[in-house]
Amino acid sequence: MQLQYFLIVAAALFCIGIYGLINSRNAVRVLMSVELMLNAVNLNFMAFSDFLDPLDVKGQVFTVFVIAIAAAEAAIGLAIVLAIYRNRDTVDMEQFNLLKW
């Protein structure tokens, strides 16, 4: 088991998350892609914490903070999606141009 395996898997997960974030039309799927990217970052933290800092596991502490903040982000994001759906009657990301121009 090497550190590089975990880092490469995390990089692949992050790139999949970016692809979904840009190409999704459904607003809920965009939030799911953000969760995937946060998971990739968590996996990086955990790998570094286990391989470079096994006695003083600060990476795991950071991961717990990221998990807590991701939960808050999911709640706020889904509330925003619900509010936009009520106003616009759609979840298509191409029609959400309220702040674009």
Binding site: A11, G17, V28, S33, D53, V91
Partner: protein
């Protein structure tokens, strides 16, 4: 390579394949309900990878918070936004898709070469014998005390903010009926005023 090493390698390969496959399914499948359930698979595989990295507490927190809370919240949002709509196809969508795929593949190639080329300072210490939970608890209440308390305040703010954002302002059945008379007042649910100390059903006799 002894037996434990082989078991670790095999389980790592299985978990990584499950996680990447589930993530690809989340991104690429057309039905969003399938995406939500595959997202749970990706989260559970990530928890298994955390177990491989000697982190029992964070694996349990991952299963509890992500699979138990965030994923259920996403499924609830899909059920609330249950409008089956066919998105109007935008012209030249394939340009954006291919450009994004090329950029993501390039980013992945860049990150992998960086990962493989960097000489990491691998520590040779053994892991903490008593499990990581005791160490994490000590960190939370000594040198990470302020971020810990700030996280609780942030969660409270997110709770109240989500309620304020998702609350239905206009009641749909009262909207057309009361719009003429009460143009200048905020429509809200009518509630009968009961004086304190009397139950509301008893004033009719």
């Amino acid at each position: 390579m002894n037996l434990a090493e082989g078991v670790q390698i095999v389980s790592f390969g299985l978990l990584a394949a499950m996680m990447l496959g589930a993530a690809l399914g989340v991104v690429l499948l057309s039905n969003v309900v399938y995406s939500a359930f595959l997202l749970a698979g990706a989260f559970i595989s990530a928890a298994g990878l955390y177990l491989l990295l000697n982190a029992d507490f964070v694996a349990m927190a991952q299963v509890l918070v992500y699979v138990g809370a965030v994923n259920v919240l996403i499924i609830f949002a899909i059920m609330l936004v249950n409008k089956r709509e066919d998105f109007t196809p935008i012209p030249q969508a394939w340009i954006r898709k291919t450009a994004t795929a090329v950029v993501c593949a390039g980013l992945f190639a860049l990150l992998s070469t960086m990962v493989l080329a960097t000489p990491w300072a691998i520590s040779t210490d053994a892991t903490v014998p008593s499990g990581s939970m005791v160490v994490i608890g000590k960190h939370f209440f000594t040198d990470f005390l302020l971020p810990f308390e700030l996280a609780s305040v942030l969660l409270l703010m997110a709770l109240i903010g989500a309620i304020v954002l998702a609350r239905r302002e206009f009641l749909p059945d009262l909207e057309e009926a009361d719009l003429q008379q009460t143009m200048l007042t905020l429509p809200e649910r009518p509630r009968e005023l009961t004086p304190a100390g009397s139950n509301p059903g008893s004033h009719s006799k």
